[in-house]
Homo-oligomer: 300 residues x 2
């Protein structure tokens, strides 16, 4: 049982964490911190948090666990502000989509207290936001990746892991560098590609005609291009090195495929398409076995 947790950012991610812990009976008091007084008041009204925090020293006093669930660009500022008040018994974690840069920010902001920071990334999201979007079961069956530091005490890592497990999440561990390479490939690159395609089409002189005939395949392919440009600009920059590696590999792949298309090499094109279809089918089967049931997915 956590006696007191402090959550910076009481929207979808932070609010759902609080809701799930309360639902599991795993926390006594939740203090909410954030820049928006309206969001904090709403989170209190909804019962997501018990206390609207104001003074940093008071908020941090006796806290077992602190979760940073504000936009990642605020990470260093928040850590810098809480550092002087961070007591020995408190563990801090975060929910940012990139980890190497978060670790670097923590190193700068926390200094000698770095060991108390256990970086994390819950792999869950929705298209909604704010306290009203927070739900009890956002993390059930989903992965939370922890990227512990050499400096972390194992008991502190365990405290963070146990909290996420109480939310229903499955704990995975990677190094910050592994994490950033993996998500550059399976998340950050697809976002960049989807944004690039929609921008490419939108800038053509006959864009209106093109959009008129875009259908469900285009809709799904570009869904992630509906995401926040600011957030994904920050992620792209924060994970620049790994993203450039993945982008270069993909552009080399496109160059090779272009050559096959120009040569009308049907067998080679089909080999790429068939390998992709097979790999995707295996992946879908694997996640459908591993996770909670999801809507049936297949080719169009």
């Amino acid at each position: 049982m956590l006696n007191k947790i402090v959550i910076f950012g009481v929207g979808l991610i932070g609010g759902s964490f609080a809701r799930a812990l309360k639902h599991a009976g795993a926390v006594r008091t939740v203090v909410g911190m954030g820049r928006s007084a309206a969001s904090l008041a709403r989170a209190r009204e909804l019962g997501i948090i018990d206390v609207v925090g104001g003074d940093m020293a008071e908020a941090m006093r006796g806290a077992d666990l602190v979760l940073l669930a504000a936009p990642v660009a605020q990470t260093e500022a928040i850590l810098g502000a809480l550092a002087p008040h961070l007591q020995p018994g408190t563990v801090v974690t975060d929910a940012g989509s990139t980890k190497s840069d978060v670790v670097a920010a923590a190193r700068r902001a926390l200094g000698a207290k770095l060991a108390q920071f256990v970086p994390g990334h819950p792999i869950a999201g929705r298209e909604t936001n704010g306290p009203d979007a927070a739900i009890i079961d956002l993390y059930i069956g989903k992965k939370t990746v922890l990227t512990p530091l050499d400096e972390n005490a194992s008991a502190d890592v365990e405290r963070v892991a146990a909290a996420w497990q109480a939310c229903g999440a499955i704990i995975h561990r990677l190094t910050p560098e592994e994490h950033d390479k993996v998500f550059a490939a399976v998340s950050h690159l697809p976002h960049l590609l989807a944004y690039a395609l929609v921008d490419d089409i939108a800038n053509k002189p006959h864009a209106d005609l093109l959009f008129q005939y875009a259908a469900s395949g285009f809709r799904d392919f570009t869904r992630i291009a509906g995401s926040s440009p600011e957030m994904w600009r920050d992620i792209s920059l924060a994970n620049q090195a790994a993203l450039l590696v993945e982008l270069d590999a993909y552009m080399a792949q496109l160059t090779a495929l272009r050559a096959r298309l120009a040569a009308a090499d049907g067998a080679a094109i089909e080999a790429v398409y068939a390998n992709a279809q097979r790999a995707r089918r295996q992946w879908i089967e694997a996640i459908e076995t591993a996770e909670t049931p999801q809507p049936k997915d297949s080719a169009e």
Copy 2:
């Protein structure tokens, strides 16, 4: 009222066309043709077709309308087989995803009877196939693009348009070349890009690790990579010229975006992302206004 129609291919596309016309009371007799005796028998059993056609001369006798809904690679062979039996009062149309190559095939196969062929492309699909997948309302509110030829009599074009309208479709007209340019951009290129990404990831030494962390954004982005490799190989080759143009434009876009990322030019990256998000939002709003209600869609 159409007295008699002949459908080559009684699966999702052809079967749904027959079902919708029957439901609308717009056809008296539907003859099904195809390579699979089992599919034809099943279509008859389901009431999709009235007659399992065998002899080409008999099938074509007195037909008002013929729809080719078999895989596009069979188009020329089917047109060649029916050409000798094509009577003056019959109009032939198709449902292929590319049009320039279909028109070229029709020109070769039909010769002097080319005027009786009105090319078409219903913009509707599902992940299912075969006669059991055929449904009454597949085309309601969806576009059917006709790409009439200079040789077509307007009454013949109207006959095809009226049949699709009886199915609930909205008729659009493009030239075959316009059609292929448009679908190269909004459909064929995204398919190629999705296949390329999954193949790229599947071929990496740490593919298993990567797939383990792929989540819902990746799932939607790559859904079209679950499509039939053979079908999309054929489409890629059939629309090679237009697809190469779109692929080159997209690769130029990626090259420019890569330079911005390498320069850590956050403002320029955000401008691309924001333009894409805005364009996509406008498009979603436009189609939600124009079409029948669909599941609410938004950014993740």
